[in-house]
Symmetry: C2
Subunit: 586 residues, 2 copies
Amino acid sequence: MKNAEQSLSALRPDISRMAKRIQAARGQIEADLVLKGGKVVHLFSGNIQEIDIAVYDNIIIGLGNTYKAKNEVKIRDKWVIPGLIDAHIHIESSMLIPSALAAALLVHGTTAIVSDPHEIANVMGLEGVRFMLENSRHIPFDTFFMAPSCVPATHLETAGAELNAADLAPLKNEPFVLGLAEMMNFPAILAGDPGVLEKIARFRESNLDGHCPMLSGRDLQAYLTTGISSDHEASTPEEALEKVRSGMMLMIREGTSAKNLESLLPVVNEQNVHRFCLVSDDLHAEDIQERGHLDFVIRKCISLGLDPLTAVRLATLNPASHFGLKNRGAIAPGYLADMVVLDDLEHFQVNSVYKNGQLVAREGKLIDFPSREKPASAKRSFRMAPFSKDSLKIRHRNGKARIIEWVPGQIITRMCLERVPSADGWVEGDTESDLLKLCVVERHRDTGTVGVGLIRGFGLKRGALISSVAHDSHNIIAVGVTDEEIALGVKTLGEMGGGLAAVRGDEVLARVPLEVAGLMSKKPIHELVKELKSVKEAARELGCRIPDPFMALSFLALPVIPELKVTDKGLVDVNKFEIVPLFEQG
Amino acid sequence: MKNAEQSLSALRPDISRMAKRIQAARGQIEADLVLKGGKVVHLFSGNIQEIDIAVYDNIIIGLGNTYKAKNEVKIRDKWVIPGLIDAHIHIESSMLIPSALAAALLVHGTTAIVSDPHEIANVMGLEGVRFMLENSRHIPFDTFFMAPSCVPATHLETAGAELNAADLAPLKNEPFVLGLAEMMNFPAILAGDPGVLEKIARFRESNLDGHCPMLSGRDLQAYLTTGISSDHEASTPEEALEKVRSGMMLMIREGTSAKNLESLLPVVNEQNVHRFCLVSDDLHAEDIQERGHLDFVIRKCISLGLDPLTAVRLATLNPASHFGLKNRGAIAPGYLADMVVLDDLEHFQVNSVYKNGQLVAREGKLIDFPSREKPASAKRSFRMAPFSKDSLKIRHRNGKARIIEWVPGQIITRMCLERVPSADGWVEGDTESDLLKLCVVERHRDTGTVGVGLIRGFGLKRGALISSVAHDSHNIIAVGVTDEEIALGVKTLGEMGGGLAAVRGDEVLARVPLEVAGLMSKKPIHELVKELKSVKEAARELGCRIPDPFMALSFLALPVIPELKVTDKGLVDVNKFEIVPLFEQG
């Protein structure tokens, strides 16, 4: 009910559109499209029916074997399911702009996503959110948004923006905004923080997404008294069952890093099947290209023993119901003609995809997808003071230094204390003992703040790796053998307007420009993936053995994950939740 | 999202209320109420758990066995389910005003209804709807409304009001209005009538209820292209299955006249269980008092073999989900503390009822229910010209007369043609052949129009029965042996401001004042039922053998149900959909 009172004249086009659809449904005028002879998956009744599907305008007008159309497509022996809906995804994690991600997902049968523009909001605030809204329009794909609830994530780093409840409120009126995004700051809720509760109060009539790993018992229930109604962080069956019983829509996450499907799928049964969705949360471009999106997750569900109709329901009707998307998630009259034709239901091979009644993808190829390269105001997201390698210098002191120890496959780090080498009274890295400088350079507000630490585990023998993707504030993060190489990398990123780079000596070995907020490329997925492969390959040449070194880098500035991190404000002891010096006192 | 932007100061009370609930959920402050040791029916997970339920403010804050409260109620060996929700009911059919119906339903475990004020809207238009909205507030019961979509029902009678799309639009902003009520005029939709489609266009973002008996195939699908999403008229399993498959929420109706439960329940299964609700549609006060409301229907479901948890779901979580009532329909943290304690789940005996955390009924008795007798502007609904018995006179003519033949147990009538007696050139009734005068007297606009016909099947040997409840326009309808007795009845109703009466000679044998719009009594249910019994008893004394003669009367002016009816405009041949004279031409 977002619309104010409308005049009759404003409604006339809708009314005549409705009248035409009715005529088409009754067979009085020809349909636009008929899919003939396919096996239709009925999610409301839980069965499969061989029947034609007629489409007029952008909706399904009827199922039946007497409809005629200019465009009749024979799909005998194929299956038809509704377009897939990802109920929780961060677009920025793909490093694709919304329109490019849409293009990448469509070929996998996804026709709508619900996204949280948390990353770009941390860089560019509402301007960033509005870019996402704008860039995702006028394409055959529906990108819904949740208003980012936790910007900035903490005050231990310099973010590009701060969004309080009043800032977020206007987003409620955006037609593609469905509510308030994952409320990660559950400690603030439990503490009754008025600023955080105000955000909920302002969005309480819409959808309130949750995020509360391991929260249980009274604290979980306290969190739920606010009206928050979903979670995608459950990692054990017990956690999932408690959350479902307590009323949460449980979004089973299967993304690039976090994979919960195998663990959680066994708890889905006939009694609770209406309370689960499949989501990706964070999904890298390479994963999308190589394995797919929800189609991949559904294949995995089926291989784990889930009934295919149930798997489909978890990625269509359930997310649509959860978010109150009334005419989505099913093949039925009045529903949007968002349809996926499958070669085979059991193996879940996408044959073709229809969005709003138009064929948009066939056999993995897009058809007539409009080009949408207008990443407005991307440059302005970089407001970096001139960078000098001198800012990387740390005076050596007696005593032990706090060293970040990278933990393989984890986003937590360990803190270890040891004596470190010096040169002329300054702290130095040491490739022998795999000790490298790690720095974070502020890039939003021209503050010139730089935080420097030491890290073990990256394995670089020479050169430096630099990135402007660093959760959650996305300052520049760099790891390198020499200050000069780090400085060249930072300079290179400044020139590109953000991105990833690998440097050796005075040479830039590879780079991935992410000109949009320093987070997203303007390129389509196959070009981006090529660039990403080259920069990773360069990292390997420099000696790094981490499978995805730039992803690893991106979590080293995240001061809400233990144990020791670096932000532009300095080293953060996460357990103490405070900035600490490199050297222990005493 | 009905609220415009709110200032922080306006939100402060909500925020501090939220903070207190969080504290209570965490056990930092005492709860208001703890139900101890009951068996909680979990509808999200489909199981039963023995656990305490803690309530603070008006919501459930947590389940767990360590909560403390001033008010701790032991309910060991009892079950707890969410408050029942009737997804479709016409309040006026009970002849109780909303607050009195609420009181009557609460003791049966119902805590919310979704109602269509179609009847009062036909009498009093928006003023009537606003009376219903107002009278149902400030009591421990939630009455939601759908904006009446079909006022007037036809143009073959004089209604008290006409509500077009623009008239209805302001109702969207009422917080307890959930959408557009049952769209009965499906022929107009199929014909693409712009006025009807405009109503849908104005409400398309909210809920659109349907009503389409026997509609099937292309016509059903055409109807559904508009976004209409529910039906309560299905009467056969095939019809129900088609409607469910096509995306309708199927409301299984079990009311006073229409009873579809036995026929439809067999189609509910594990795959489609999320697509059914239980509703009453029209339910008389006597039925409520004697058998109950949804509690009765659930008992019947269970006796027909339905799993009790499923039966409960059909009357709680499913209707709540359908209408997007986010925090209703389950026992879970953050949900309204609308709870029913049952002595026994299988026999479904209501022990006590909590609304918004307050005990409102125990063992069939209300507790502290506020008195709400302020039926504003009721009188004004009667705008009747002075009535003279001369208006009942019909000049006798040669040829056969069209006679209405009442059909036992049906709301259809038959038309039969025969010669009728005359006296001094005027048509007369004849008790020997059970031929009585039936008339409808306009009572909304002072038009003085009176329609007169003849009916067979009422069996009155003397006297007259008179009612101001006559679907859908609710003019005065009367059947009687003499014009004098009919005239006395009409006069009596005019004086009462509407109601039911039985007259013999110059005596009023019994009466039921329905001062509110001529449809509803101000009295509580037990007093009304006593009056209803007395007027029916009087009808029996007059010779009438119809089990419920006033209900039978109420359908005799409904010109959308075949075959021959009377409105204030005259005799209606429903098959021709036109006014016809009493005597055949020629």
